[in-house]
Symmetry: C2
Subunit: 286 residues, 2 copies
């Protein structure tokens, strides 16, 4: 069982996996990425991830050098070769390597990278007791709907969170409205209704976000996609965050303020269970 | 005479110059860069470039693995080895290679890259006749004062400019004020006064910008650093842009509208000459 990379058609160890210093991913962040969860050797919600990847690539005019079927087969092979059953599968496509100039090169081959690494999910204690978060000014660019490699603000926000002993940094805009977390989407629960920011250029439309909204609605829970404020966040009955590596995690303290009863709430817990059930079903887990 | 790279202590051809796929520059744009002009084998305004690089690195908590003197000696060596006299020297420092997680790794060595390439300046026709520009919404992040690798909005803006047959894209904010260009700082001239956006988190404090302001003031030209609007840009007597690879370039058409008399203006031309004179003096050019 070992981490593996696949770079432009070649499988290798991660130590051997290299790209040009003139890769536009390295020089400009001119590329896209995705992270896919592998449970029991099977990629979870792969179709939805690939759909988004193809959409982002189209928007940025980065050609993906494989068809969806070819991608599926490469992904299956890297998981099989690695021998890893519980994993993160990281996908990155850049516009390719070319002498540095901002405009798109006329003739360039995109760089295609896959990395598979063992991953067993968020710490059990966090799941049981809930996580801490901080809030952080949302100074990101205007196209957060694109899963691009321009992630320095997210890096700085998450670093601050970790320094403060928190799991996540939740972004708020100048007027106080909440967008999303540095690596997750953010939900609040108030009087039985679940709220999360609507799809827009301010948030990444997370696959887990979409799954949780669907699951909640199937359970008869009202979900409203609307902008909410920092004040509503602090005063929510429950707060939870969702993401591919995070699954669904209750947030019980934000900026040192206790949220709701200070432990994972009823709706969050029931949605967490339902999400794990969905993973089990789709990935044939015991 | 050949392009050369220097990556983490090793000189090589550009073809051989590689970094890890897990380099945080490649994954997150978690790094900084600078471009230095080399004239007659000598780096122009090197002290100012290095000062800014050290400032940016400090702000982002990226350690620079060399002292200023060591940097100077490596730069001198790469220029000498390349045999190139007229060049762009590209410097990039990232937080280093580490398994992907947004927060700063505890133990990681920064990645240090230098690239030297021949460069002979902007096309003579553009200098003589002036350039076209377009305007483009400034959707960049909130820390444009940092010379970071999160350059996708600049890439998209410059690509649009090139598609439109223009040299540069000039950013305007939602309220219509101008910040800077995708790869340059922007100046306007009105009734003999030179205006440019003040230093703030909205612009990169360009070394050429600073040089041109100094030169203009020495010539007795009034320079005001203040916010100006898209309307003022369109109605300026002269517009010019400055940057390390651009030097000083007159802009004579923006969004299809003719600026001033539609040719390089008197003040722009005199500042261009003075800038070239300064390069000659500092770099011992004939």
């Amino acid at each position: 069982m070992r981490s593996l990379a696949f770079v432009n058609g070649k499988f290798s160890s991660l130590e051997e996996a290299k790209v040009s210093v003139e890769d536009r991913g390295f020089l400009f962040g001119d590329g896209i990425y995705d992270v896919i969860r592998v449970r029991n050797g099977r990629p979870y919600k792969l179709e939805k991830h690939l759909k988004r990847t193809f959409q982002c690539a189209k928007e940025l005019e980065i050609p993906i050098p494989y068809s969806k079927d070819e991608l599926l087969s490469i992904m299956t092979e890297i998981i099989r070769k690695s021998g890893i059953r519980e994993a993160k599968l990281y996908l990155q496509i850049t516009r390719g390597a070319y002498p540095r100039a901002h405009e798109f090169p006329q003739e360039v081959k995109p760089t295609f990278v896959l990395i598979v690494r063992e991953y067993n999910g968020v710490d059990e204690v966090l799941i049981r007791e809930g996580a801490k978060a901080i809030t952080y000014p949302d100074i990101r660019w205007g196209r957060c709907d694109l899963k691009s490699l321009n992630l320095l603000p997210n890096v700085l926000a998450r670093q601050k969170a970790v320094q403060m002993g928190a799991y996540e940094a939740i972004f708020h805009k100048g007027d106080g409205h909440i967008t999303e977390g540095a690596i997750t989407n953010v939900f609040i629960v108030k009087k039985g209704t679940v709220l999360t920011a609507p799809e827009s250029r301010e948030i990444l439309s997370g696959v887990t976000r979409e799954t949780v909204i669907k699951i909640a609605r199937e359970k008869g829970i009202e979900v409203r996609e609307r902008v909410f404020s920092l004040e509503e966040l602090y005063n929510a009955d429950e707060v939870f965050i969702t993401g591919t590596t995070t699954d669904l995690l209750s947030v019980v303290e934000i900026d040192g303020k206790v949220i709701g009863k200070g432990k994972p709430g009823e709706i969050s817990s029931s949605l967490y269970k339902a999400l794990k059930e969905d993973q089990k079903n789709e990935c044939n887990l015991q």
